[in-house]
């Protein structure tokens, strides 16, 4: 967008559209956010249960290998051979005992240490590496990793605060509610590419009231609706958010009366989809956490999932869903989680609408970088709310985003 002024309007109740479309801003986000002092979500321990198990993932534009070593530790390694830069690992997941680059067979252990270089000592007295070549200095780039109750996070910066400080007690409380230390069992993945800026995905979860208007399925069956008892809570930075809510009834009240999509007569032919059992302390049937910068940790009824956001330039992102349960789930509970998974993912009864609307948002704003969005529902402040009729979590988010980006 060339020379257009990239400035922020007064206050957090207006969001300029160039932050969703500008290539330069995207590149600054990679440096200041994803490669900066943050804890990026990279997966769940149940994806790599045994020594040697690995998965490939991404932080910003960089390919990352997450692997369990022989001692049971979890390592995050940049997927780039120290020799000539080859992307070593092409598989999405699997198991290996060592990591070998196919090009010249430089070989690394599961902690990323360089173990072997062919022809290191030369052949018949010819060639070989210089005597002072350092194996220790030529390992894979290693990220700092933190594992908490089965969730794996990694950071590229030395300045990242300890994980607990980074999340704050309030968000950690919600985190530990879902990832409570029990072993997790992996149910599967879904992956989709959405032609929208990555921040719009976080916003979508922080924007509490759209669910009552866009998602007819939610609205009708009361799974998530403005008239539900609910809370919107942020950490001190405003970047992490936890939304929690208690399922409402299929009834007509002053909330549902304002929703053009509400139909009190709709009934499911197979109500087993909504056969929800209480499994956590407290009455909340929905807790959606957006953990800065790249993951949504969610409970909707009995379906549990993470959604990892992988940015792909300013105008696109990938959403990698991982659905899970607990190792102590009985067969009935697993069946329930799998049935309720129909709500979510690229064909989700609910989340399908989000993928569609986010792409339309991007299309709407693409040609208008200097226009701005209005975020005034529930006032102009950034304090917690005990209801959903508010865009407060968006204002708090952009307060935090401006701090991080220096805007």
């Amino acid at each position: 967008m060339g020379e257009a002024p990239l400035s922020w309007p007064d206050g957090n109740d207006r969001v300029p559209y160039w932050i969703y479309t500008d290539q330069g801003n995207y590149e600054r986000e990679l440096e200041k956010i994803f490669y900066g002092p943050v804890w990026n979500y990279v997966g769940l321990e149940c994806e790599i249960p045994n020594p040697g198990d690995f998965k490939r993932t991404q932080i910003g534009d960089q390919s990352i290998i997450v692997v369990r070593d022989a001692e049971g530790g979890v390592n995050a390694l940049v997927n780039r051979c120290a020799h000539r830069g080859v992307k070593i690992c092409e598989q999405d997941k699997g198991s290996f005992s060592e990591i070998m680059c196919p090009y010249h067979q430089w070989t690394y252990d599961l902690k990323g240490n360089l173990q072997g270089v062919p022809f290191h000592r030369g052949v018949k007295g010819n060639g070989g590496m210089p005597a002072d070549f350092s194996m220790a200095d030529n390992g894979l780039d290693v990220l700092k990793v933190h594992v908490r109750n089965g969730g794996i996070f990694a950071t590229m910066s030395d300045k990242t605060p300890p994980f607990e400080t980074y999340m704050g007690n309030r968000i950690l409380g919600y985190y530990d509610r879902e990832l409570d230390g029990r072993s997790l069992s992996l149910l599967g993945h879904s992956r989709q590419r959405i032609g929208a800026n990555w921040k719009l995905m976080l916003e979508n979860i922080k924007d509490t009231h759209h669910a009552s208007l866009l998602h007819v399925f939610f609205v009708t069956f009361g799974l998530f609706r403005v008239d539900n008892d609910s809370r919107v809570e942020m950490d001190d930075t405003g970047l992490h958010t936890a939304l929690s809510s208690i399922r409402g009834k299929q009834e007509l009240n002053d909330g549902t009366a304002q929703m053009r999509s509400f139909d009190s007569n709709l009934a499911l032919n197979d109500p087993s989809l909504l056969d929800v059992v209480r499994e956590f302390d407290g009455d909340q049937t929905v807790v959606m956490q957006t953990l800065w910068p790249n993951v949504i940790l969610q409970q909707q009824s009995n379906t549990l999932a993470t959604r990892q956001i992988v940015p792909k330039g300013p105008n696109s992102f990938e959403l990698h869903w991982t659905f899970f349960g607990y190792e102590d789930d009985d067969e009935e509970m697993t069946a329930r989680r799998l049935r309720q998974a129909n709500l979510m993912g690229p064909a989700g009864l609910v989340s399908m609408d989000d993928g569609q609307i986010l792409e339309r948002t991007q299309e709407g704003i693409l040609a208008h970088p200097n226009e701005q969005g209005v975020v005034e529902l529930g006032g102009r402040g950034t304090d917690d709310a005990d209801h959903m009729v508010t865009e407060v979590a968006l204002r708090a988010f952009y307060k935090g985003y401006r701090n991080v980006m220096g805007l």
């Binding site: 599967g188 993945h189 989709q192 032919n269």
Partner: protein, 157 residues
Amino acid sequence: MTITPELRSEIADLANAYALAIDDGELDRWPRFFASDCLYKIIAKENFDSGLPLGLLMCDSQGMLQDRMEAFSKLNVFGPRSWRHMLGAVYTTGSEKEISARTNFVIFETLAGKDTHILCAGEYRDIIIREHGALKFRERLCVYDTTMIPNSIVRPI
């Protein structure tokens, strides 16, 4: 109890009629292709190959098929589009009583004002039975190879 040429052609008709009903937007016909006791599941190849149970979409009763059909038709929000199922030849094994079939598919999706793209590629893995005289899917697994679904799947496949 072998699969005769006549039966083979009846199975091919079922596969084609199913795809056409969806491409024609006649979703109300979709549940009728299934047996009264049925399983329909769209599943990523990565899950299928690893023995992970998660479906992108899963219906294990006629009621769930009906509910999905109504959601696709009335509740979900998405823009206008055309779909074309391209089917490979049906490969059948098993017996007349319980037919196993595998069919490759590619679905082309065309959104209003945009280029045609591939929505997904994969294969149907079916178990087909005869119920009240007609062939029905007792089980239809749609195993898709596509790593990243372009946005969403807004109809059954």
